[in-house]
Amino acid sequence: MDSTQSFRFFNRGPSPVVRLVFFSALSLLLMFVDARFRYLESARSVVSVLITPIQRLTAMPAYLLDQIGDIFITQQAQRDLKSTNNQLQIQHQQDAAKLLQLQSSQLENQQLRTLSSLPLSPGYTAQLVEVVYAERDVFKRRVLISKGANAKMEMGQVVMDDKGIVGQITRVYPWLSEVTLITEKDRAVPVQVLRNGLRSIVFGAGDTSQLALRFMPESADIQVGDVLVTSGIDGVYPQGIPVAKVAKVERDPSYPFARIFCLPTAGVDQHRHLLVLAKPPKLPERPAEEPVTGEVDKRAKGRRRN
């Protein structure tokens, strides 16, 4: 049937230029609708059902390699296992001691809070999830995790690992959810310096696995090695979870703000298993403007345009 093509004297259908214009216009329209109104999320889930098998397949090579590696456990690996086991046990004992202290201080804190009639700081339940695949787009810092709408994942839930905040759920598919990492460009997390309680907002750098504190005056009391924890302001992130450690502070008198670079404490690009925290209870509505529970990144965007 191929060889008959050279005998086609008449064009079939519209010319390439017409098709180009039609499909370009269609794409532009789709993009406009998607970017402005987010009407297309359901269409996206439908198409994702088509593409999910391929995506599952792409995770296979790494999985198989893992399995094969498991079969060939060498003596070296065994020794490694033993030593990590020992380390973990020691760590566990230390942690247990700390946990006991924490429990007692938690009780004390609760009593004090009830005494001064403050609302109790809620405990957060967490769900264990697995990273299924990493983002394949150079521009984005995202991962996809193994639970989606089927496990009642919701947009805005906070994702962390054993050491600190990793990111936030930004899109929920039927069986997967998309987590935007805190290192994504202009992703903002409200933080506090653990040493002196200074409040600030930490932003993702995007192209590197770094974070930055912007708009801090030269005189701000921040030193290399300071730990930044979530401040709990805004009600999106729970309070007191480590986010980053200050790695470098540049104070240039010709520039109004200090340039402060931080590294995330969590292994943002490393682990396969993560915890998803349940959504914190809603704060009372913020008086004017936008609601308090609104996404933080929206504000970051606005800030950049100013």
Binding site: R8, L26, V47, R171
Partner: protein, 173 residues
């Protein structure tokens, strides 16, 4: 007769089944979806773009702008990019391929590579431009993919060509 001018004498190619085209496109989506990371992600050639370009150049009546657009939508969902971002880029790519189809008879692979470089650059630029419009920044390392994609064009072409040849000889014997 449309043939690839790698060989000195033109050869008759056996007709290509639709399933073959579908499989190559799916394979390209699979390759694009492998867990590339860090510098490898920047160096990753756009396999889907190469496959689409190949079919648009060699079988413009079978695989044209509309199908490329549809594959672009699939890529958009796979990459969680804006709906239509890949689609627009691949539409332009397919148009380039269909136009280039007419020149194919005159060019050998080396000359084709220059043309392909232009088309793929256009595709990447369009994608990055949209991203820049929406998100306000561009990662320049992204454009390394243009080079790797272009460099892959010749081996890719030869591979496809030899695959079709083999299938033909199997059938004859």
């Amino acid at each position: 007769m449309r043939t690839l001018n790698v060989q000195s004498k033109p050869e008759i190619q056996r007709p290509i089944r639709n399933a073959y085209i579908v499989i190559t496109v799916l394979a390209a989506l699979f390759l694009n979806g492998l867990p590339w990371s860090g510098i490898w992600l920047m160096l990753r050639p756009d396999f889907v773009a190469l496959v689409l370009l190949y079919w648009c150049m060699h079988k413009p009546w079978r695989f044209g702008i509309g199908l490329s657009w549809a594959v672009g939508i699939l890529a958009d969902v796979a990459d969680a990019s804006l709906f239509g971002q890949h689609a627009l880029a691949y539409t332009l790519l397919a148009f380039g391929g269909v136009v280039l189809n007419h020149r194919l008879k005159m060019f050998d692979l080396r000359q084709q590579t220059f043309q392909v470089f232009g088309i793929i650059t256009l595709t990447y630029v369009v994608y990055a431009l949209i991203h820049w419009q929406v998100n306000g920044f561009v990662v320049w390392g992204y454009f390394l993919g243009v080079l790797t994609s272009t460099l892959l064009w010749t081996p890719f072409n030869l591979m496809f060509h030899s695959m079709q040849q083999k299938r033909m000889s199997e059938r004859v014997s």
